[in-house]
Every structure is written in structure tokens, then in C-alpha cells.
């Protein structure tokens, strides 16, 4: 069993007894020890508990008890998930000494109950406030496709670990794009679920109104399997032919030629020329930005009164500015949010799946300060969420899938649907992967 195996193949081999979970776990831990330094994906490696979990899986197999559909599958969790016995750092140095969590976060517990083996925690932007995974305390996570480039964030460690084949599965969180952006920049698959579809219980909050959690994997079938396990939904096979359109306007502005070409090729492959307008997208992004700053600032207000200088400076500045945002502006953004969600609902009366780029550009270099937005230089890291933030405000399920790339850096595309139509979404992703138009971007190693 090597690191190329799918989640399904790993579980099948472990369930049948052909492969020992312990052997697989030890090999994974050894590999992380050897290669994690390249990307700085893992912040803590849980050798002892991982080996204990692997023993338990093997014990069940030996006794004829099914360990579950993820038997022996090694996985990592972003540093904001509660793990019993460990402090939940949320990427913050000031939380290294926090009281240990009493129990696992709900989704960590669900993966363990399905037989998966937790091997470590993964790097992130401090308190999930960023699109870069440039962390003043825990370091920068590097993109496995080019170590001089960003992995994206805030779940950058989760994405880089899967893209680098350190683990086949990881957990991240997505408030404004923190699963979709790193999935796109690292050439793998991730999904932001609909609001409330997957429990966030036991995760460190950022913006409770927008926070979601979800997985990173290397194929469409794996994404569907893990989504079903995390959400508890039984999706079945959709019999409906989806009505598909490409998002235009805001989603055609500021995209680099290579990203827009990829979308053109995908739409040509689908034989779809429908274009859906979302004229409110730019305002939706702004509303999301304001709500994030205000709620994030309010959440951290008490801590910032006494420990402001212990924050990552970039995060501190955003949180302080957010804490001082006038209430009238916050309420105006909230008012727009209600309006926007109704407008998006109307859009899904005409269409089932809307497609757009995930990021306007491929992964920027780590030292790249700016990118061009509407003809002007603008901060590169903040604008990686240009296309993900409006869809976060809508509260709908959105997957980021890798477009086939034969050379160069990965390109991700967003596939958005209405809550309740996830089966249709996963079926389309599986078909496009089978056609070869969507495909995990392989690293050169």
C-alpha cells in the first residue's frame, strides 16, 4: 500500500486484512517526519495516539468486526479542531498553553468512528483570518507544486498535506473560502458545505454566521464518500440532468487568462453556453468582508484588550479595525446578506449548478505583495478570495475541483449548487473527472 492509493482502496485493504493499519500508520508517520519540512503542513504529529488507533483498527479486523468505511485511512485536522487531550491552538501562539479539549470535535469523532486514524494537526492562518497560511508563529505553509509559492489559506496545511501525499484526507474550515482557495492553489478537491449541513461543534469559531467545515481529498468519489460520512446524508445517485450555467460579470473580471481559458474549456466540454448573471456579487463580497471583520473583532475583543501584542500582527490589525467598525455599517451588510440570499435562491430556480473560477490567479509567489484588481495593484493575499467570498454569503454548497493541467501551477474551479442538490453536484464532478477534464494536479515528485 503506497501513498497513491485512494481512500476506498486503503479501507478495502485494511478491512480485508491484506494490509495492517499499524504498518500503514507507521509508514505515514515516518513519511511525515521525513518530508513535512518541505511544505510545513503539520504543526503537531500524534505518534502515540495514531499508533493506538491503528492497533484498535487491526484488533477489530482480527475479531471479525468491521472497523468502518475509512478503516486505517490516515488523516490530519486543521489546528482549529478540538482533539481530546490537546489544546486547540487555532494557529495562535497565545493558545499553545490553553486548557486541553475534553473531547474531539464532532467531525473528527465521525472520521475516527469510521475507522480513520488521526496522525496530526495542520497549519493555518492565525484564527483562520487569511487566505495565505503565512503564520507569524508557526511559519508559512509552502505549495507542494512550487515551494516558493503560497499554498493558500486559511486551511493551507490541510491542502498542502493532501497535495504532497503526506495523507490522503484532511479536514479544513471555510468561512470566506478557506477550503476552496487552498484546494484550488494546491490542485486538489475540497467542499464548503451548505450552512448547517456538517456540524462545526468542537471547532474554534471565527465568524459563526459564515463558518463551515469540510474535507480535502484527491478525487471526486472520495469527496462524495467523506461528505456523506461527515454530514450523515445519504445522497444516492441523481437521475436528474442538471441545468448548468457559467457565472459571469464579477466572475469574468480580474481572472487571469489561464484561469478563464480553463473555464472556457470546461464549458465547451459540457456543451453549455448558458451564462448566469449575479450582479450583486461584488457587493456580496464587500458585505462578507464587513461581517467577517465585525464579528471576528467582536469575538476577540476581550482578548485584544489585554493581549493585543501577542497576536500575529497582520491578524491583529484586521481584528482591531473590525472591532471598531460602526454598527450601522455592520447592520447594512447584514441587511444586504438577507437580500442576497433571496436573489441567489431565485437563481437556483433556473439553474442547478453554477460554475466559476475559484481564484482569479494561480498560486502567487510567497514574496508577491500585490496583484492587479480592476487595473490597480491590490494586496495579493486578501484578493485570493475575490470569487469565493460572495458564494460564502449565500450559504450554499460549493466544491472546488482541479482543472486538468499538464504543466504549470494548478487551477481550481468552483461548482455551486442549491442546498439539497448535492447528489447532482457530486455526480457531475464524477463524470467530469471520468472524462479527464477535472483531475488532481500531480506534483513532480
Amino acid at each position: 500500500m503506497n501513498h497513491s492509493a485512494s481512500i476506498q482502496d486503503i479501507a478495502k485493504a485494511v478491512r480485508s486484512g491484506a494490509v495492517k493499519s499499524l504498518d500503514l500508520t507507521i509508514a505515514t508517520l515516518d513519511d511525515i517526519a521525513k518530508r513535512n519540512g518541505e511544505t510545513n503542513s503539520f504543526t503537531r504529529v500524534l505518534n502515540e495516539s495514531a499508533i493506538a488507533s491503528a492497533h484498535e483498527v487491526d484488533r477489530k479486523v482480527a475479531k471479525g468486526i468491521d472497523p468502518g468505511p475509512l478503516a486505517g485511512v490516515p488523516f490530519g485536522a486543521k489546528d482549529l479542531y478540538d482533539i481530546a487531550g490537546l489544546p486547540t491552538t487555532a494557529g495562535a501562539k497565545m493558545r499553545i498553553g490553553a486548557a486541553p479539549a475534553e473531547r474531539d470535535a464532532v467531525v473528527v469523532a465521525r472520521l475516527k468512528a469510521a475507522g480513520a486514524v488521526l496522525v496530526g494537526t495542520l497549519n493555518m492562518d492565525e484564527y483562520a483570518y487569511g487566505f495565505a497560511t503565512v503564520n507569524a508563529h508557526f511559519g508559512t505553509t509552502r505549495n507542494p507544486h512550487d515551494l516558493n509559492r503560497l499554498a493558500g489559506g486559511s486551511s493551507g496545511g490541510s491542502a498542502a498535506a493532501v497535495a504532497a501525499r503526506l495523507v490522503p484526507l484532511s479536514l479544513g474550515s471555510d468561512t470566506n473560502g478557506s477550503i476552496r482557495v487552498p484546494a484550488a492553489l494546491c490542485g486538489i478537491w475540497g467542499i464548503r458545505p451548505a450552512d448547517g449541513a456538517i456540524s462545526v461543534k468542537g471547532t474554534f469559531p471565527f465568524v459563526e454566521m459564515l463558518d463551515t467545515v469540510g474535507p480535502f481529498v484527491r478525487s471526486a468519489a472520495e469527496l462524495e464518500l467523506v461528505y456523506e460520512l461527515l454530514s450523515g446524508a445519504e445522497l444516492g445517485d441523481s437521475k436528474t440532468t442538471p441545468r448548468i450555467a457559467r457565472l459571469d460579470g464579477w466572475y469574468a473580471r480580474n481572472g487571469s487568462p489561464e484561469v478563464l481559458d480553463a473555464l472556457d474549456m470546461l464549458m465547451a466540454h459540457l456543451g453549455v453556453d448558458d451564462v448566469a448573471e449575479m450582479p450583486e456579487a461584488e457587493t456580496a463580497r464587500s458585505a462578507s468582508y464587513l461581517i467577517t471583520a465585525a464579528q471576528g473583532g467582536a469575538l476577540h475583543l476581550d482578548t485584544m484588550r489585554s493581549r493585543a501584542m501577542e497576536y500575529d500582527p497582520a491578524v491583529r490589525d484586521r481584528l482591531l479595525a473590525g472591532a471598531m467598525l460602526p454598527t450601522a455599517l455592520y447592520l447594512r451588510a447584514m441587511e444586504f446578506r438577507n437580500f442576497f440570499r433571496k436573489r441567489v435562491k431565485l437563481l437556483f430556480e433556473r439553474y442547478d449548478i453554477l460554475i466559476a473560477p475559484t481564484t482569479p490567479v494561480v498560486a502567487p509567489r510567497i514574496d508577491q505583495a500585490t496583484m492587479i484588481v480592476d487595473g490597480q495593484p491590490a494586496p495579493a493575499r486578501a484578493n485570493l478570495g475575490l470569487y469565493t467570498q460572495p458564494l460564502s454569503l449565500a450559504g450554499i454548497p460549493v466544491a472546488s475541483a482541479p482543472f486538468r493541467v499538464s504543466s504549470g501551477m494548478p487551477i481550481g474551479l468552483q461548482f455551486a449548487t442549491a442546498p439539497g442538490r448535492e447528489a447532482m453536484l457530486f455526480k457531475l464532478l464524477r463524470e467530469l473527472e471520468s472524462d479527464g477534464i477535472l483531475r488532481t494536479t500531480e506534483t513532480n515528485k
Binding site: 484588550r305 491583529r316 479595525a321 431565485l346
Partner: protein, 66 residues
């Protein structure tokens, strides 16, 4: 009316209501430029939201909720 500044010898009541003071937030002066830069981004997004004109004929729910 010009905006009062901390250098004013007779601060107006508006200046006394400075939000950072009200919230009990104190940071060294060297942090101010970074906070100002973040605040400027917030101002730009606030202008976008403030400027949005809600459609009244797109659908029966075209008005924002109260």
C-alpha cells in the same frame, strides 16, 4: 467642519467618543499604520455596500428584510 484631531487643544465631544478608547483597546503607536491600512480596506467595502441600490422590480422579494 474639519475633523478634530488628537492635537486639538480643545477636543470636541466627538473626539472624546473615539471608539478605541470606548472599547478599551490600547496599542503602541507603531501598530497604528497597520490598523489604518485595514480600516481603509473596510471603508472601501463599506462604500460598496452603502452604494448598492436594491432592485425593486426583479422579484417580489426584491426589498431587503427589515
Amino acid at each position: 467642519m474639519r475633523t478634530p484631531t488628537p492635537e486639538d487643544s480643545d477636543p470636541t465631544p466627538l473626539y472624546r467618543l473615539d471608539m478605541s478608547t470606548l472599547l478599551g483597546l490600547v496599542v503602541p503607536p507603531e501598530c497604528v499604520p497597520g490598523i489604518e491600512a485595514s480600516a481603509e480596506l473596510l471603508r472601501r467595502h463599506a462604500r460598496n455596500v452603502e452604494a448598492y441600490v436594491y432592485s425593486t422590480n426583479a422579484d417580489e422579494d426584491g426589498e431587503p428584510e427589515s
